[in-house]
């Protein structure tokens, strides 16, 4: 009897719970919708399930709205996009803007001509008023995503006419347009006609979102695991239409926190694009599944994002303020072992402070190869060495060839693109000479600091993935060279450790570039000494190493007064690279290779490294929206 009662009670409880779960849903959508597989593209959203699923107000900081749920790829839009790869028609897209930015002579004014005939998804026309509203609202309301960024530089913004906006800036700034240029994301334009009706912009949920992109919200999981979007009937009234009609009728972004489940879902045909996998799982699914592939057709498969994983020194702490110590630590590393340990060899190494991706190898790595080979490092005792080894890439290629065979490229040019142009040769003797010059002594138990203490420190690194493996291996190599180094898996590395300077050495990145353009302002401007704070205070992104020098300030200041498209920027960029080699405030390691895997069973037309590198396959980038215009159901030819 008692058992029966318990069973009844618990099933009643279950029913009540189900009722509560249903009660939250508005129930406007029909009970069952079909997502025909040949009309639906399913992608993985790397964000964890949204904390606040019904919130789409992307302009408010910390309201729990998801960003890469499809919201910023499919619905949001802004003036320009800069592609990290080659782009469909060059890396620079004039999106909502009709043409590129126009500055006055002293860069205190920027004028933008807007595209005409673009409509919001609720039928309202897009005009200059929307742009003005976006900037003014965020300047008036602190705590919004771009409030601080606008308040810092904008004096006034005005609509000259319906399709022209003029910004007046507080100070000369030749890179103001960067705020509206999407690299991953950018300042998205708000619908004035929606938000002007809203009393409290901060609390507004913006559900359903009204956007300028070719898709609208179809439905979403009340628990935040997935978002489904449907193509607008009037997709041809959006800016994206210039590059073609988006292929899929429905696009679904799914949050799948466990990498293994991503692999399983793709193997079962329930997922077309995986944002990121472990290297091992990538090798496995590409081998097992005919239709699955990575960015490169063979090894190393992964897409190199224009982000540079590196060793970051806290240069405000001794002894990392001493370039001899930093160089000594660099020379203790064996890049081959680090590449094998982190990426199983699938890393694209870079000896210089520039991600070896997009157009950068042509602009920097290839032209600077001879300079690097000839580079001489002064060891402090009158000796010099030439530390650069241009053969590291091909050495790694040979190391992985037994396992991956024909998938490993053989030509030197292809090896350089895939494995890197070279790196610093491990040279423990030279490292020892440098450390001794800096006052260190080598005892029986290892290296001692000038103060007579054992030289020991921690390396903060990611909690998992390739960066964790890299950090663990680097710590181990230093330990083997006689320095007591412990790796620390740090879940808060970007949230607080790096900004607050609460570390000695870290593996992360402080260099992210456009990828498709040699201009470095995207990260470099924030490296100016004006931005470097006192120890203990919060360092603004991205100069986590807190390093500054008059020479660096000189370069940054000249960039600020040089037009974005001016070839002089490339010269300044190379000056920056040479300065970084001399000073070594960070040890550049490799491109951030993302193991995106895509499946061509249902959809074709994805970008590829070898034939059509028109976009970044890494699909949480808002720039990935151009991919949709190229997709066609599998089995159909272009003309269908």
């Amino acid at each position: 009897m008692r058992f029966t009662a318990l069973a009844t009670a618990s099933s009643l409880a279950l029913a009540a719970c189900a009722g509560a779960a249903i009660g939250q849903e508005e129930g406007a959508a029909p009970p069952i919708t079909e997502f025909p597989r040949d009309q639906t593209l399913i992608l993985q959203n790397p964000e964890p399930p949204a904390t606040n699923p019904p919130n789409f107000n992307i302009w408010v900081a910390g309201n729990g709205a998801g960003w890469s749920t499809g919201l910023h790829q499919l619905v949001m839009d802004t003036l320009w996009f800069i592609d990290p790869d080659e782009g469909l028609d060059g890396p620079l897209y004039n999106q909502l803007a009709a043409e590129t930015w126009q500055y006055n002579d002293d860069f205190t004014e920027m004028t933008v001509d807007l595209r005409e005939g673009i409509y919001w998804s609720d039928g309202e026309e897009f005009t200059a008023e929307d742009v003005v509203f976006t900037v003014e609202t965020q300047m008036e309301t602190p705590g919004m995503t771009w409030s601080a960024a606008f308040s810092d530089v904008v004096e006034t913004v005005e609509a000259v006419d319906d399709y022209t906006v003029r910004f007046t800036l507080q100070e000369p700034n030749s890179r103001f347009h960067a705020l509206f240029s999407v690299r991953w994301n950018g300042a998205w334009i708000m619908p004035e006609h929606v938000f002007s009706e809203v009393e409290d912009v901060m609390a507004f949920q913006f559900n359903p979102p009204v956007g300028l992109g070719p898709y609208t919200l179809h439905s979403f999981d009340p628990n935040g695991y997935w978002y489904a979007w449907e193509k607008r009937e009037d997709w041809d009234r959006t800016a994206l239409a210039e590059w073609g009609e988006p292929g899929p009728q429905y696009v679904i972004y799914r949050s799948i926190p466990t990498p293994d489940n991503r692999l399983i879902e793709m193997a079962n045909g329930n997922l077309d694009v995986i944002h990121d996998l472990t290297p091992e799982a990538t090798f496995s699914i590409i081998e097992d599944r005919e239709t699955a592939r990575g960015w490169f057709p063979g090894f190393p498969y992964a897409h190199p994002d224009p982000t540079l994983p590196m060793v970051i020194f806290n240069t405000q702490r001794a002894p990392f303020d001493d370039r001899r110590v930093r160089w000594a630590l660099a020379l203790m590393l064996d890049a081959r072992a680090i590449s094998m340990a982190s990426y199983r060899g699938a890393a694209t190494l870079s000896a210089i402070a520039m991600p070896p991706t997009g157009t950068h190898p042509d602009d920097y790595h290839a032209p600077m190869q001879d300079w690097l080979i000839d580079y001489e490092l002064d060891l402090g005792n009158g000796e010099t060495i030439q530390p650069y080894d241009p053969s590291i890439g091909s050495q790694i290629a040979e190391m992985v060839r037994p396992q991956f065979g024909e998938d490993v490229p053989t030509e030197e040019a292809a090896i350089q693109r895939a494995f890197g142009f070279g790196w610093w040769r491990q040279d423990l003797e030279a490292a020892a000479t440098l450390l001794e010059a800096a006052g260190f002594t080598e005892g029986r138990g290892g290296w001692m600091t000038p103060e007579g203490e054992p030289f020991e420190f921690e390396v903060n690194t990611f909690t998992d993935g390739v960066i964790n493996r890299m950090g663990t291996m680097i710590a181990q190599q230093w330990t083997q060279a006689g320095i007591e180094v412990t790796p620390v898996a740090d879940p808060q590395i970007f949230a607080s450790t790096l900004p607050l300077g609460d570390y000695d050495v870290a593996t992360a990145w402080s260099i992210e570039t456009w990828g498709g353009d040699p201009d470095l302002s995207y990260f470099l401007d924030s490296w100016h000494s004006d931005f470097v704070v006192e120890p203990g205070e919060r360092q603004p992104a991205r100069n986590w190493q807190r390093w500054s020098s008059p020479a660096l300030d000189g370069i940054i200041e000249e960039v600020r007064t040089t037009e974005f498209t001016d070839p002089r920027n490339l010269e300044l960029g190379r000056d920056f690279v040479r300065l970084m080699v001399d000073e070594m405030p960070v040890i550049p390691m490799m491109a951030y290779n993302v193991f995106s895997v895509y499946d061509t069973e249902y959809w074709e037309g994805f970008p590829t490294a070898e034939e059509r590198p028109y976009a970044n396959i890494v699909n949480n980038w808002a720039n990935s929206k151009y991919i949709f215009t190229q997709l066609r159901p599998a089995g159909q030819t272009e003309g269908d």
């Binding site: 799982a281 340990a341 921690e458």
Partner: protein
């Protein structure tokens, strides 16, 4: 004592198997002191090698020899589980039996604190300790924290048994015979509670190791220390199960099953030894 063990070993097959299993596992954990590799080093052997004569347990994707790496993991995990079990047993026996036997005000006060400990949200507390201590959160610290959190559940169980015993005839007789409460608890009640203590000790070890694994799998632990939890964490972050390096997961699981099988058989046979009536019954059943 020694003769008892010898007799048990000779006549009780469960005790025999159990003690052999536990000895083997303990010896294996002890081998970690002779490991040729430091436990935190990676890429010291060829990665992804299946079990073979060279690598008995295979090698993992981090380039570690699993035979040696798991010996560290088992040592740390077993020491951890034992510390938690012993400490929390002591607390729960004292609290549970006192509350059950004394009753009244003592019972209410003890159970009040007990209930607070039962109601404490353990998981957020553990994660908080991790965030505050980070790499200082070693096996012993975690064991201490877990022991302080893990006694209340069983103290209640023991109390409810003791509560039943209190009203039994022999308790009254013992009281009339002039036995003091401590003596009654230790001499008269403890044998009744012992089976529960052994079985809850097992359950407690499974519980605490389960928590260790949960924290490990989620990464809320010092990942440099090899334990069962961190072993699974690293296996998971290299997709071990799906890419075919199954030995990375299956071998520790098999070892853990053998460990607990051994412990269980020991607990059962010792329980029978302590409780003469079930031994008699067993002999009767065998007739």
């Amino acid at each position: 004592m020694l003769t008892t063990i010898r007799d048990l070993f000779r006549y009780n097959i469960e005790f025999r198997i159990g003690s052999i299993l536990v000895t083997v596992i303990v010896l294996y954990s002890g081998l970690s002191f002779f490991s040729p590799y430091a436990p935190e080093q990676i890429y010291v052997v060829i990665p992804d090698q299946p079990p073979s004569l060279t690598y008995w347990f295979g090698t993992n994707s981090r380039g570690q020899d699993l035979f040696w790496n798991l010996s560290f993991a088992f040592r740390n995990t077993l020491v951890f589980g034992l510390i938690v079990a012993v400490l929390s047993r002591v607390i729960s026996i004292v609290v549970g039996m006192t509350a059950g036997y004394m009753g009244g005000m003592t019972d209410r006060v003890l159970m009040f604190f007990n209930d607070i400990f039962v109601a404490l949200p353990i998981f957020p507390i553990l994660i908080l300790f991790y965030f505050v201590l980070r790499n200082d959160l070693d096996t012993y610290t975690l064991a201490l924290i877990m022991a302080c959190l893990g006694w209340a559940f069983d103290a209640r169980l023991i109390r409810s048994v003791a509560l039943g015993l209190r009203h039994r005839e022999f308790t009254r007789q013992a009281t009339f015979a002039g036995m003091g409460p401590v003596r009654i608890m230790v001499e008269e009640h403890l044998p009744y509670v012992m089976p529960i203590i052994f079985s809850t000790a097992m359950a407690n070890m499974i519980w605490s190791i389960g928590f260790e694994v949960t924290l490990g799998v989620l990464g809320f632990t010092n990942l440099n220390i090899p334990t069962i939890g961190t072993t699974l964490y690293w296996a998971n972050s290299h997709s071990a199960m799906l890419v075919g390096t199954w030995w990375w997961i299956m071998i520790p699981v098999i070892l853990i099953i053998l460990t607990f099988l051994g412990l269980f058989l020991l607990a059962v046979s010792i329980n029978e030894h302590i409780d003469p009536r079930s031994r008699l019954r067993r002999m009767g059943g065998a007739e």
